[in-house]
């Protein structure tokens, strides 16, 4: 954990963190970067000590790459839009309602669903680390973990939303939920206009990851058709 050379590395690393244009742009040869070498060394010794099994590591990665992600949360929201009884259950016991769709577990043990209304828009942050509802949204995006988002969401959320291209009417108050305990928050956005009569599967297609964090709105049916 040497700090030697930190000031010189500071700007480069910070900019890379902010723009995260990939890990390849600064590689001019095949040498491992510091962090690649460090992680590889760690994996090697933990395997040799029998403390981790490489197949276990592969299984963990596979789950978060292919099974647990924001499509889970989109199904929860689409069900809430389609089924008032489910929406009521979700509002009162989100953990159980979400588990009934098959989504539970790590970083989703204690769920709360917060419903947007015409008067209030909800937005979720973890100012202290990166708490995020993995069971319904998967792993958090880089911006959610970034100092910029974590520092500003609780003091100037409208300015932050502007950086997502979102401008809410001043008549709609903003409520920010700082995830300081083991409760994990899922935003249930307002059902978009023009979605009457759509089936649950189609509705799920309108639900973006960001609208379940509160930094976006669902797609409108018209916009989705244009995108196709």
């Amino acid at each position: 954990m040497s700090e030697a050379g930190l000031p010189a590395r500071c700007n480069m690393h910070y900019r890379r963190m902010m723009t995260h244009s990939g890990d390849h742009d600064h590689h001019h040869d095949n040498a491992l970067s510091d962090i690649e070498a460090r992680v590889r060394a760690l994996e090697t010794i933990l395997i040799e000590k029998g403390l981790v099994d490489p197949a276990t590591l592969d299984a963990i990665v596979d789950i978060y790459e292919t099974k647990v992600g924001p499509r889970n949360g989109a199904r929860v929201v689409a069900r809430a839009w389609s089924d008032p009884d489910f929406a009521h259950w979700l509002a009162h016991d989100a953990t159980a309602a979400i588990a009934s769709l098959g989504f539970s577990g790590r970083q989703g043990e204690h769920m709360r669903a917060v419903f947007n209304t015409p008067d209030t828009h909800n937005m979720v942050v973890c100012t202290l680390c990166s708490c995020y509802p993995w069971s319904v949204l998967g792993l958090p995006p880089v911006w959610y973990k970034s100092p910029a988002y974590r520092s500003r969401a609780v003091i100037e959320p409208r300015a932050v939303l502007g950086e997502f291209g979102l401008s809410l009417p001043l008549s709609q108050a903003i409520r920010v939920w700082d995830s300081t305990a083991e409760l994990r928050y899922l935003v249930v956005p307002l059902r978009p206009d023009g979605s009457d009569g759509m089936a649950e599967d189609e509705l799920a297609g309108l639900v973006t990851r960001d609208c379940m964090i509160g930094t976006g709105l669902p797609l409108s049916p018209a916009a989705r058709n244009t995108r196709r």
């Binding site: 890379r16 760690l42 403390l51 299984a59 789950i63 100012t127 202290l128």
Partner: protein, 225 residues
Amino acid sequence: MNGPHDLGGQMGFGPVLPEADEPIFHAEWEKRALALTLAAGALGAWTIDESRHARENLPPALYYTSRYYEIWIHALCALLERHDLASRDEMARGQVAQAAPHAHAVHALKPENVASLLAKGAPYDRAAQGAPRFAAGDRVLTKNMHPRSHTRLPRYARARQGIIEAVRGYHVLPDSNAEPEGRAENPQWLYTVVFDTGELWGQDGERGLTVSIDAWESYLEPASP
């Protein structure tokens, strides 16, 4: 602790830069960093609270210049060393001192148990003892506290008046559960407490904003009327 992690209301970090069609991982090493952190955590040598504390204990300059999974790896190395699972020298060289299984290898997470372990999670609520001190609608004052150890009461919400919105259950207290030695769950009532923008930020927060935190009972006192 008043560490680099406690970011609410800090300034100078620039704009939020969402990435279109962001991949789940940006490099192979990030996948291994995530998986190593979860697999090592499953050995049971430390709690999630201790691992959070290890991250916030990084020197501020290092914390702010590290990518997020780098913060995890720095903290994981500190935890492995603290709990005698690997030495600093072994981690630096990538070679074990003795080619033999570690005594804790019996606790290693098996690949066939990964899915069930992650689906089960680790609930942090406990059987309640006694009645909650506060009820929805009560005005409370958060404590003015600056422990050197772990806490989940952010600086921006200390010594502030708020309103109890809901009682959320009886949860393990991270402050004591993070202690490497003498760890104690010390479960308590947990509340959602709401603050308005003026109480948190004076004239300098956005108008109409409310912010909530989830706070354990020992963080709170009744507000004087």
